[in-house]
């Protein structure tokens, strides 16, 4: 089902842009990927997302949609071919939305802070938060998947997309700190899920390489440190 009126303002390093790509791939949609460097931000990005000036932005026949969660739901509602990204049952939909928001709130927040943190005590606390979130996600997975490979069941769903988009960044955090977070011993279901997710055709070609992302992360840390020093 080829589309020529879809443009994605994204970035290879962005887990949020990755969410949109996965959704587009799941629906078999063609799109033009416009890589934003964010330094400077393109005029198109500034015009398309005046509120946040952030990626991702999906342009559908030049109409912009912003915020990854909003974009993914838009894709699911506009292209109703299988697979459905959200479940059809109202309670399951609420569950999917709840956990997707939880991921941004309780998983991404400490993850981002960990990237910036220098202090060992601070890092310890942040790892603690991530491990707690992981425990909850393991439990959520067991309940939602009902023995099937994904949170969404047989196919990738909203929670899979929200969580799976962070897997490469998780590897980077683990590398940088010499410490496993997603541990097959502690989170067996999620460890298996992560492998299945990464191997899925909708995901496989587009996950950023850990090494490349590690380089990017290190450069980002230096940039933030320089900005912080300037601000003092």
């Amino acid at each position: 089902m080829a589309q020529t009126d879809l443009k994605l303002l994204g970035g290879w390093f962005s887990p949020f842009a990755l969410r949109v790509q996965i959704a587009l791939n799941l629906k078999g949609l063609d799109y033009e990927l416009i890589e934003e460097t964010l330094n400077p931000k393109s005029d198109l990005l500034l015009q398309s997302n005046p509120v946040y000036n952030k990626i991702p932005v999906l342009l559908h026949a030049d109409k912009p949609i912003c915020e990854s969660a909003v974009i993914v739901e838009y894709i699911d509602e506009t292209w109703t071919n299988a697979p459905s990204i959200l479940p059809s049952n109202a309670y399951d939909r609420a569950n999917a939305r709840f956990w997707s928001t939880y991921i941004d709130d309780k998983w991404f927040t400490p993850m981002k802070s960990l990237l910036m943190a220098e202090d060992d005590e601070a890092k310890k606390a942040l790892f603690g938060q991530m491990e707690e979130a992981l425990e909850r996600m393991e439990d959520a997975f067991n309940k939602a998947s009902e023995g099937k490979p994904f949170f969404g069941g047989d196919t990738i769903g909203l929670i899979d997309i929200a969580f799976g988009s962070f897997l490469s960044w998780l590897s980077v955090i683990e590398e940088m700190n010499g410490r496993k977070v997603l541990d097959v011993a502690k989170n067996p279901a999620l460890a298996q899920w992560a492998e299945t997710f990464a191997a899925d055709p909708a995901v496989k070609g587009i996950l950023p390489e850990t090494l490349k992302l590690l380089e990017f992360a290190n450069a980002l840390k230096l940039k933030w440190a320089a900005e912080a020093a300037k601000a003092k």
Binding site: V51, H60, I65, A69, Y74, A94, T101
Partner: protein, 219 residues
């Protein structure tokens, strides 16, 4: 559609705009429900069971199944009771409504809240950000009666804080944020909002809300 056997219960906090959003949505849809006021200093066993992750209100319990987080609850209500829709049919319009709901919670409400509770030091910057946020939101209204168009929609409900709470909080803080001079269109919307027959019955009483926040401000 609902049936007589359904049980709908809302665990809430009368002064909370997040909790109030759920009241408003249920009332717009004409869904009968039981309300249970939670004392957040002494959380009920029920709340802790129904929302173990956040231990917060609001929580909607439908036939024993709990739903937490106000935006998730609003979408659940919309999915379950199809009358008086809160979202438009068109996917693009729906995406815009969801974008503004999220932006209200992520950016606009925090900016206004911060300004109302800011100390001397941070006040000027906080107020500037609040005014910027209100401008962005007013621009989104364009010339519509409600954010939902001719009828109350999701964004109107999520913006209950702006429609009703802000007037009270800014008075307590001695600030002029949402005024007819600064934001004529948004101010007009706030009057339409609080005078809407269903919304009017669903909002907490002004004097009590004023007293509640005034007491918090004195601490």
């Amino acid at each position: 559609m609902g049936s007589e056997d359904e049980e709908v219960k809302l665990l809430g906090k009368w002064a909370s705009p997040f909790s109030n959003r759920v009241d408003l949505a249920l009332k717009i849809k004409g869904v009968p429900y039981k309300y249970s006021e939670e004392n957040l200093a002494n959380k009920s066993v029920e709340l802790l069971n129904y929302n173990p992750v956040y231990k917060k209100v609001p929580v909607l319990v439908h036939n024993g199944n709990p739903v937490s987080e106000s935006l998730v609850i609003l979408e659940y209500i919309e999915d379950t009771w199809e009358n008086n829709p809160l979202l438009p049919q068109d996917p693009y319009e729906r995406a815009l409504a969801r974008f503004w709901s999220k932006t209200l919670d992520d950016k606009i409400l925090p900016a206004i809240w911060n300004a109302c509770w800011s100390d001397e030091k941070g006040r000027e910057k906080a107020v500037e950000e609040a005014l910027e946020a209100l401008k962005i939101f007013q621009d989104a209204l364009k010339d519509k009666r409600y954010f939902g168009g001719e009828t109350i929609g999701l964004v109107d409900i999520v913006a209950n804080f702006i429609g009703y709470w802000v007037a009270i909080l800014q008075e307590i803080a001695g600030l002029e944020l949402l005024t007819i001079e600064k934001f004529p269109k948004l101010y007009k919307w706030s009057q339409e909002f609080v005078n809407h027959p269903v919304i009017k019955e669903g909002l907490p009483p002004r004097d009590e809300l004023f007293a509640f926040f005034k007491a918090s401000a004195s601490k």
